[in-house]
Amino acid sequence: MSRDLILQAVISGLLMGLIYALVAVGLTLIFGLMEIVNFAHGEFLMLAMFTAFWFWALGGLDPMLSLPLVAILLAVAGILAHFGIIRRLLKAPMLAQVCGTFGLGVALRAGAQFLWTPDFRTITNPFIAGRVQIGPIFIGQPQLISGGICLLSFAALWWFVTRTETGLGLQATAQDRQAAAVIGIPTERMFALGWAIGLGCVGIAGTMLSTFYYIFPDVGTNFALLAFVAVALGGFGSILGSLLAGLLIGLVESLGGLLLDPSYKTLIVFGLYLTVVIFRPHGLFGRF
């Protein structure tokens, strides 16, 4: 096994990890705010990918151009989901919350399959294509740019949450809902904002993913599983934690696939989750 090959795997693993991380951060934000695990998260990613696909297929809009549109649409979907569904589930027992979001996911996935068939689709000839060579390693240009955009999104999210007043309100709501309400933070609006940002991130991740990945109704399932792992590893509610955990998962998956057997790479990640969750139930990095 040459050093170049390992370096190659590390780089591509980290780039994929950035996407996992951006998907996971939406999940972790929502959980941190209202203690609800969105089991329909993968389906929203799928919807984002299909939205980008249809912008390209019907409107001739390249994913790089439709990126803001998809992110806004997904954010709107998040607000609608919050006011239409989640607000009611908040008062229900945990079982109903799990089943409710699961039910939403099942309906969305089956709906996509009904409308668009289970076929695999791809966006051909996107603006960003081909690969760049850096020394001995090759990096796909879509992956590279996606990774960059994911990092930028993280930086923006971090700035928003820690430096703006609204972001601080978001953090306060996550820490203590009642106390936040007492000092005049509109918690209900914060919840909706959390959903908007969370699914907006999914919109960005999905659009970038659509430039180099197959698009099909079941595509979200695996990403959602990995996002659950990332959220649990990073600690539910931690933004930085999910970034680090996403990178770690990408790395483990890619190196595991290279050194062991590619068909077992997901298993290795699941094993990682179980080990961490059993020995450190609050994740590797704690809350924000």
């Binding site: 229900a92 079982l95 039910g103 089956a110 599983l225 792992v229 077992y264």
Partner: protein, 335 residues
């Protein structure tokens, strides 16, 4: 103490008309294959009963001990594979395979449950979801059991009861599954009013209070998980003998784990009859939508499932059964 608790009527004795209705329902279930004689009506009822058993298995671990398992398909698959591997490779009767499957499933439940059942809430749900997905990956790559292409149950035309396969009629399957469901529900009915059952419900509702009373939470939850796994395994064996082909893609699919959860929550989780009610609603919905909409029905039924369960969770988290119960109670209270 327990005697006293039993003597106090925790459950109000059902009125006479309810008992009569129950007796009529049992008579109807026994006579069903002779009232509805088409092959499809038999098939429909076999599926309802099978899912009623599977949903009840999920209900034992989630409804009774409060742990949301999203990996019940593991035990369904283990049951199906145990009987079929033993039969196809060694010619051992599926009846023995049924027992082996229950044993292996219970052991798997221990292996999975001991480390993970300590996790609360979402962590356990996600862990079982991942383990379920992992087990499916393993079975799809495991050459000895046919890897991704699965296994066939060898056709045996002599002595159908011994080989547990019937090729001329579905009626024997119906009665076998009915028997399994009857035993399963009886076990759960007994369990719910046993020492173990009370403890499980106590630690579901108030884990900290239960622990401070000296109830070993972990051990009890593992026990409930084992019972649940064994029940699921029985359903798996019967399913394998019914369809005669094992497909790891289907047997271990997250879809099975999810459907049993949807059925139970729809009917009413934690209740005895909720899982059966959920199965009786969702199975016909799925089968008929497949008939009406043809090949695309497979997804229409899932759309309906998803929306239905979402609505129930939003407006009636305790399930449809509680709606009926409330009505009956209100009527009973009327002068």
């Amino acid at each position: 103490m327990l005697e006293k608790a039993r003597a106090e009527r925790l459950w109000p004795r059902p009125p006479l008309w309810a008992s009569a209705l129950g007796a009529a329902a049992i008579a109807l279930l026994i006579a069903y294959p002779f009232i509805f004689t088409t092959s499809f009506s038999h098939h429909l009822m076999i599926l309802i009963l099978l899912y009623a058993l599977m949903a009840q298995s999920w209900n034992v671990v989630a409804g009774l001990s409060g742990q949301i398992s999203l990996g019940q398909a593991i035990f369904f698959g283990i049951g199906a594979y145990s009987s079929t591997v033993l039969f196809a490779k060694y010619g051992i009767t599926p009846w023995a395979g049924l027992m082996v499957g229950m044993l292996l499933s219970a052991l798997a439940a221990v292996a999975i449950g001991v480390p993970t059942l300590r996790l609360r809430g979402h962590y356990f749900a996600i862990a079982t979801l991942l383990i379920g997905s992992g087990v499916q990956i393993v079975f799809q790559r495991w050459d000895w059991v046919g890897a991704a292409s699965g296994l066939y149950v060898p056709i045996e035309r002599t002595s159908p009861l011994f080989y547990l396969q019937f090729h001329t009629s579905k009626v024997p399957y119906y009665y076998l599954v009915l028997g399994a469901v009857a035993i399963g529900y009886l076990v759960v009915w007994k369990l719910r009013r046993s020492r173990l059952g009370f403890r499980l419900q106590a630690l579901r509702d108030e884990p900290d209070a239960a622990a401070s009373l000296g109830i070993a939470i972990a051990r009890h939850k593992v026990l409930a998980f084992m019972i649940s796994a064994a029940m699921m395994s029985v359903a798996g064996t019967f399913y394998a003998q019914y369809v005669l082909v094992l497909d790891p893609e289907r047997l271990f699919s997250a879809e099975i784990s999810i459907i049993v959860l949807l059925m139970t929550v729809l009917g009413g989780s934690g209740t005895l009859w909720g899982p059966a009610l959920g199965a009786a609603i969702l199975v016909p919905l799925s089968e008929y939508s497949r008939i009406w909409f043809g090949g695309t029905g497979r997804t229409i039924d899932l759309i309906l499932y998803g929306i239905l369960i979402l609505l129930v969770c939003m407006w009636r988290p305790s399930g449809i059964l509680s709606l009926l119960e409330e009505r009956i109670r209100r009527r009973a209270e009327m002068p």
